[in-house]
């Protein structure tokens, strides 16, 4: 099995601050891979480098054996590597369904004349996109809200919509940045189920940043620990949990 994502020697420097120092990680297909670490450890910076929102100062990022560290954000996303954000970033004044249609921009027929004349081929693509949107709305349990404006949804629903919006782009690697932040325990366990479903039913790899240790330990296949920009540990949940360095970083020296 080849690796889906291979990050090696990733460096990110902001002026004099070395935010990410020599981080490497490998995501295999069909896996839930978590990145954990104390606040300010550089997890989101790693995410931003991988998803093309920052240009890394050094290192290599291979997605399906293709180097992507020089590509811009929208190009990376088109390759099938899609992310969410720490704070919900929906198109608030558009309806839930429109949010999902925007995400499928690339899969729709964007030819002006086809759209103006409403050609059969244009309509066919549109119907397909609608079907895809409806499918994912069902998966995340938001079908009843399809025509409601996204800004009016509850926070937990907005989180789920964000995941659905990523999924309709048909990615192979989904990157979730603290998806459980601000959710109540019930919503967190639903999210838990959803992520496992993505892996098992839809054959998606998930790269996860999360502070909720229960969630992380429960669903991860592999965990990378980052502390102060540098890699600290790497391994299965069990290995990581028993690693003395990790315990030290999280609980302080005893």
């Amino acid at each position: 099995m080849t690796n889906l994502l291979e990050v090696s020697g990733l460096m990110m420097r902001f002026g004099g601050l070395l935010a990410v120092d020599n981080v490497s990680l490998t995501v295999k297909p069909h896996q839930v891979h978590s990145i954990i670490g104390p606040n300010g450890a550089g997890k989101t910076t790693v995410f931003n480098c991988i998803s093309g929102f920052y240009r890394p100062s050094g290192g290599q990022i291979l997605f399906r054996d293709q180097p992507i560290e020089r590509l811009t954000g929208h190009r990376i996303s088109r390759l099938g590597l899609v992310r969410t954000f720490q704070h919900v970033r929906l198109f608030n004044s558009m309806t839930v369904l429109e949010n999902l249609l925007v995400a499928q921009h690339r899969h729709l027929n964007t030819n002006y004349f086809a759209g103006l004349l409403n050609t059969p081929r244009y309509r066919k693509r549109h119907t397909e996109a609608m079907a895809q949107a409806v499918f994912w709305l069902e998966q995340v349990g938001l079908l009843a809200f399809a025509n409601r404006e996204a800004g009016y949804l509850s926070y937990g629903q907005q989180r789920r919509l964000e995941i659905a919006r990523c999924m309709v782009t048909r990615p192979s690697l989904l990157m979730l940045d603290e998806p459980a932040a601000g959710l109540n325990p019930k919503e967190t366990s639903e999210l838990d189920q959803l992520i496992l479903q993505l892996r098992d039913k839809h054959d998606i790899s998930v790269l996860l940043i999360e502070h909720d240790m229960g969630l992380v330990m429960g669903i991860s296949d592999h965990i990378t620990v980052i502390n102060q920009g540098a890699p600290l540990a790497d391994g299965t949940p069990l290995e990581v949990r028993e690693n003395p360095d990790v315990i030290k970083a999280y609980l302080g020296e005893s």
């Binding site: 954000g73 996303s77 929906l90 964007t110 002006y112």
Partner: protein
């Protein structure tokens, strides 16, 4: 009340000072003494009235707004028939309105038709700017530049190369679109205030260029004698130019100068209908949704694989092209254009139309455009106060309906679930 007293006094003072300044009351040295000039008893009376009015409104601001809250706000939606019936009636209603618009000019005076033509030009401009400001959320204060580009494209091509209106119409649109694209490039990274300033500058550059490039554009003298549109080669003049035929000769009717006015109105109407159709379609097309998504959140757009550069440029380009069509028609209708027709105030009026109508709402923009062109004409006696009324209407709108006359409604898409 106690707390409102001080701000009220302050507002009254500011009102007094500003009013005196605006009206032109000033102190002049008359020998050793200072005298107040430009103010007779009546003026003082009016100033006192204004000061007292401002003072009272400020003082009773809270009870007034409480009263306003209790007044029933008109619910337009409640007055309309029910959803199902409405969706069945809408196409018929639209057909009826369009039919009415086609028949109407044959029954009314020449002046009204002419005014309606002007209103239609503004409808087209409003709808075009609505793409940029309403959908894509890019504040463009130099929109009139594209209008000017369209107008001058036709005027120059007609003067130097003798091209006809119909040939120039698409060229003017393309030309304006090109300029839209050119403006789009440097402002790709800008948002909000910064974007507004750059577009404002762009508008002025175009105007000043037209004003100073005397050899080509005629400078401040403008270009006159621009050819009028023809109906498949039939002219609307008393006597035909050599080698062509006039409308009244062809149909064997008496010459009537109102034929041309009605014809121009019909051309404008067709252009507006075309604009409405295109924008209506585009709004439901992927690119239209992408514009709105970009307005909402550019970073999220990028993370979903949308290329913000292309989307922004397309909004600028498309918005500009409609201004180009409008400009071309404007030049043909007037027969004379000069840079004076394309000052900043035009941009401001078009922007006001979009804001008054409700950002992104087509019907709202159409109504606002009609109101903005027809109201000043109806209130001719108050010509000097036009800008004042303008400002007043804007302030009132922002207080009562900040979302515009008819705010945009989200399209509801029908779901097909198994």
């Amino acid at each position: 009340m106690q707390r409102a007293l001080f701000p009220a006094l302050f507002s009254a003072l500011v009102t007094f000072l500003l009013t005196c300044l605006v009206i032109g009351v000033k102190l002049e040295q008359d020998g050793p003494e200072l005298t107040v000039v430009n103010a007779d008893a009546a003026t003082w009376g009016w100033i006192a009235f204004a000061v007292v009015a401002v003072f009272l409104v400020q003082l009773f601001h809270q009870p007034l707004s409480a009263l306003k809250q209790r007044l029933p706000t008109p619910h337009i939606s409640a007055l309309l028939p029910r959803e199902q019936l409405r969706s069945r009636l809408t196409p018929w209603l639209i057909a009826l309105v369009v039919l009415g618009l086609f028949i109407w000019p044959f029954m009314v005076s020449r002046g009204s038709v002419d005014l309606a033509t002007l209103a239609l030009i503004y409808v087209m401009l409003g709808l075009g700017l609505n793409i940029v400001v309403g959908f894509a959320g890019l504040l463009d204060l130099g929109y009139v530049a594209f209008y000017a580009v369209g107008a001058y494209t036709y005027a120059l091509l007609s003067e130097y190369y003798g091209l006809s209106f119909w040939a120039c119409l698409p060229i003017a649109g393309l030309m304006a679109a090109t300029f839209g694209c050119i403006l789009g490039f440097p402002v790709l990274r800008l948002r909000g205030d910064y974007l507004a300033i750059v577009t404002l500058g762009f508008g002025e550059i175009i105007r000043i260029l037209l004003n100073n490039w005397t050899d080509v554009t005629g400078g401040p003298n403008g270009i006159s004698g621009i050819e009028k549109p023809t109906l498949f080669g039939l002219e609307f003049s008393r006597r035909a130019a050599e080698g062509s035929q006039t409308f009244h000769e062809f149909f064997g009717i008496d010459y009537d100068s109102s034929h041309r006015v009605v014809f121009l109105y019909l051309v404008a109407l067709l252009l507006v209908l075309f604009t409405i159709y295109v924008i209506n379609r585009v709004q439901r097309m992927p690119i239209g949704r992408a514009w709105e998504a970009l307005r909402e959140d550019e970073i999220a757009c990028r993370s979903l694989g949308l290329n913000p550069t292309v989307i922004k440029l397309s909004a600028f380009t498309m918005g500009a092209s409609f201004a180009g069509f409008a400009g071309c028609f404007f030049a043909a209708r007037q027969g004379f254009i000069s840079p004076e027709s394309f000052t900043f105030i035009e941009s401001a009026i078009i922007l006001a139309i979009v804001v008054l109508g409700g950002m992104g709402s087509q019907l709202g923009v159409i109504l606002a455009a009609i109101a903005m062109t027809i109201l000043p004409e109806l209130a001719r006696e108050f010509q000097e106060y036009r800008m004042l009324m303008f400002g007043g209407v804007m302030v009132l709108m922002m207080l009562w309906r900040p979302q515009g006359l008819l705010p945009m409604k989200r399209p509801q898409l029908e779901l097909k679930t198994s």
